[in-house]
Subunit: 545 residues, 2 copies
């Protein structure tokens, strides 16, 4: 029996939309009484803990238990999380590692069954989650929902395997998350009618309104990769019951700075109703996913934040199941001994492996656009030296390499890219959506191979190479996650980020941009381990034209 704890403070009750001074008692993790108090006794406010309605924990490069230690500092007590990244690398075993690690902390992780592994058949992933595998996951009581159904063309045409996954979730009473960027009107309605009940990909208010009209909940996304908050904020005013907040992808350096709390503060500052804002931070996701997260009611698990005021939401303490998990900027969640799992068979490469014999004088060139996941496909002159097509840093023409990490000696795919702007050096990463092969960009073959081999030596991670300088951030868990804390990983990530920018890169987040250059479902020209891919035609194309 734990000892009775009490807090006297102003309770924000989202069910009654009232704020009143109370003395709240809790014991054994549950709220046992909430009695009126006088205002004079009270300091601060109690509000329900925040929920991230859609996130890939792997994007933080942290194991769930380390993610939790950082997130509670910002008042996050629960996530609706899609283990899509580790599933692409390690399959069901990867999902189970996430579940096991998550179960060792008090933080409330709700994992889904990844719906689309691999993203396309045109790349080499570490696993295939077919209908049987997804169904097996959905049978697991720890799996709460079917994660984002990215194959929206397959939903629109009611492709059998796609519908089988959706129907498997439906028949198990588990909700189905959507992912339908840009879908409008009839098409949006048709997508949602298949049984999908959320979407986090809206980029315009009009798109969101179409989806809301079709019965969909909208998760407004503001993460490290995509930022849609400004475009969608006004929905808080007229559709407060249909809005949730999410980050989708949250890098370790940015997780150090804030999470859902940042959106709450911004919405309050912009004049939205406090109750509607806090609903979007917790209640709406709790209700939609039917999460066992408390809402400051008697009998509820004591999941709440004690904040100084209702403007800055400065967090005094965060509680989960009655445990104080953060106090005055210090995380009180324990560090959990990490478990390591990986799929990594690639062996060291030589410079000759990435040389490109010139077949003609014109190239297809990928052009990256800062802050966007799409690339442009352009044509340009090749720079040819000794019958090889080579980089031209003066013309911002760099080499892009993707190496199959699941085979020992696969032939790398090599192409040319514009937009990174570095004058020297190379960076590489085993975070490379969605199959997470090794992706690298650089000026010289020497540095490219150094960066790639550094990732291979670490069996996954991020790296930067310039002559003899080699910096790495090892990610031993699936080549996606560190075993260290957010502070450590965030600092290492920031150091790499700063160094590449010193070398001339003007992109806001070079490693992030790099990690999406092999994602074949986003236009226009991408590079998989199997070659250069024209997303608009959805087929492989030649480098030389």
């Amino acid at each position: 029996m734990e000892k009775l704890q009490t807090i006297t403070a102003n309770r924000v009750d989202l069910l009654t939309r009232t704020i009143a001074p109370v003395t709240m008692s809790f014991v054994d993790g549950r709220i046992t009484s909430i009695r009126p108090a006088t205002a004079i006794e009270c300091t601060g406010y109690l509000i329900p803990g925040f929920v991230d309605a859609h996130i890939h924990i792997e994007s933080s490069m942290l194991l769930p238990s380390q993610f939790a230690r950082a997130a509670v500092l910002h008042g996050t007590v629960a996530t609706v999380s899609d283990p899509h990244e580790i599933a692409n690398v390690c399959g069901i075993a990867g999902v189970e590692l996430m579940l096991r690690d998550a179960a060792k902390t008090n933080f409330k992780f709700y994992f889904g069954a990844p719906a689309c592994v691999p993203a396309t058949p045109f790349e080499t992933a570490g696993a295939v989650l077919d209908v049987a595998a997804v169904t097996r996951l959905l049978d697991d009581p720890r799996i709460g929902y079917l994660s984002e159904m990215m194959n929206f063309p397959g939903v629109l045409t009611r492709e059998p395997d796609v519908m089988a996954k959706i129907n498997a979730a439906r028949l198990r009473g588990k909700p189905i998350d959507g992912h339908a960027p840009g879908l409008r009107g009839e098409a949006a309605a048709r997508y949602i009618a298949a049984g999908i009940s959320t979407d986090h990909e809206c980029t315009t208010r009009e798109e969101a309104l179409d989806k809301i009209a079709a019965g969909c909940q909208i998760a407004i996304r503001e993460g490290s990769a995509a930022r849609n908050y400004a475009a969608l904020e006004s929905l808080l005013g007229d559709h407060p019951a249909a809005i949730m907040f999410c980050s989708d992808d949250k890098h370790p350096d940015e997780l150090l700075l804030g999470h859902i709390n940042q959106l709450a503060v911004r919405a309050i500052a912009n004049g939205y109703d406090l109750m509607d804002v806090l609903r979007a931070c917790s209640l709406n996701a709790i209700r939609h996913y039917r999460l066992a997260v408390g809402l400051l009611q008697v009998g509820d698990p004591a999941d709440f934040l004690w904040v100084e005021d209702l403007t800055t939401l400065t967090i005094r303490e965060t509680y989960i199941n009655g445990q104080c998990v953060a106090r005055l900027g210090k995380s009180l969640l324990p560090e959990i001994p990490p478990e390591i799992l990986n799929q990594f068979a690639a062996t060291r490469l030589a410079e000759t492996d990435i040389q490109i014999p010139a077949k003609s004088k014109r190239l297809r060139i990928m052009e990256v656009i800062d802050g966007q996941l799409i690339t442009r496909s352009t044509m340009g002159a090749a720079r040819i030296v000794d019958d090889f097509a080579v980089t031209d840093p003066g013309g911002d023409l760099l080499k892009l390499v993707v190496v199959n990490r699941y085979l020992p000696q696969a032939q790398p795919a090599v192409a040319f890219v514009r937009g990174f702007g570095i004058a020297a050096g190379a960076i590489a990463s085993s975070v490379a959506h969605d199959s997470h092969n090794i992706v690298a960009v650089g000026v010289s073959d020497h540095d490219l191979i150094s960066a790639i081999n550094a990732v291979i030596d670490d069996q996954g991670g991020l790296s930067l190479a310039l002559n003899h300088e080699i910096k790495t951030l090892p990610l031993p868990v699936a080549g996606l996650m560190s075993t260290e804390s957010c502070q450590t990983v965030g600092a290492a990530y920031a150091a790499l980020d700063q160094r590449i920018k010193q070398l001339g890169c003007s992109l806001r987040a070079p490693y992030m941009t790099l990690s999406f250059l092999s994602l074949l479902v986003i236009p226009s020209l991408k590079l998989s381990d199997q070659g250069l891919f024209d997303v608009d035609k959805f087929e492989f194309v030649d480098l030389f034209v």
Copy 2:
């Protein structure tokens, strides 16, 4: 391994809102393929099976397995059912009897945890389901939701015990059904904000619109007791995603005639979009409650109807889990050996037990209103014979008696009622909402006692007495349900109904009206086993004034 079955017919797909000729194959209860066919091969249409979104199975006076045998004839394959009546009599043991009986048939019963047992503290019920008992039920994986939260004043004031039941359901990821007759605007929104997501009590379109705006699903009710379809039908036109169909209470004689199919036919005849109508009959409830009921998709359980056309919906065959459960008007579900459970301690009464010594010359009189559950409270002259207040059939002043069935020798409560209009005889019933004591109405004390004692002799049931004529419909299961088939029970019920009408009763459903005269939560004057109750003042009042 069951043999492969195939049907070639026109499939109505509610997910794509299309109709196409297909050959559908199913084996082991699941649909394994749906292939295009040519129209010439097809006869009839395949549509998803119907779901009653809110029903008390006990109101059919049939055990679940017998209810199922009748309902499948009308295309019903699933019910969202609240075992509220048997819970009032037998508590959790009663709910468990329903679950056991239901589990023996292929029909898809989804039971909830009754939220309000007993309905008030001013009557004697057989059980109390407190927060602990409701929580225990909610912990049972066979219990899918919290049944109608009738105590809407308690929700509006956030009464602790009421909120504890709601929160217990919420924390278990189980939806909470509402019951908030007449609630509008802010009050409706406040009721729903507590966590309630359905309502089946709307009587006007405006009331329903207020509740829909607050995020609530509306179950349009058309049963034996309450009929709201005509008033709410237009919602199918503008809010098709928010509408379900239900019966709430369905008597055995009416269950023989039809069920949800009657509403479907009516809505189609009135010109509503076929897909929207069929959604209200199945999809919307399946989605809201996340039921494991098939929707004619590959991989789904083969739950469907094969109908002749899309106007009359004449049912050729009904399938549940691939089993043909009804064919051409014949139920193919097996009869299940019934299990009997009861709480019945009342012992035979004598005429002297219901005599009323006259305390004054003026009485409070209950006036029933045909087709409504409310009564009027009026004052009138007593007819006094030998210092006793007696009935006056010429003035339609009859005696109403309620006998506590849970004690051997409780003093009956006696009052006077107008509106039954019978010239002679008496009827009695152990179906008496919500505590299900014995309620009787009649002209002479002799017939009243005969009718009451007949119910007592049967340990529950309906009866009619006129001199030496005594007719009964025994209801041995909790005094609420027969062990016989719908045909048998429906015929017996119809015979009693006709006989009382022959005796002069002009009420549409005399036994139903009688059964609501002890329901203390409906205005204005009611009679519990503990005495005459003024619902508007919510207190006991004297018979004499």
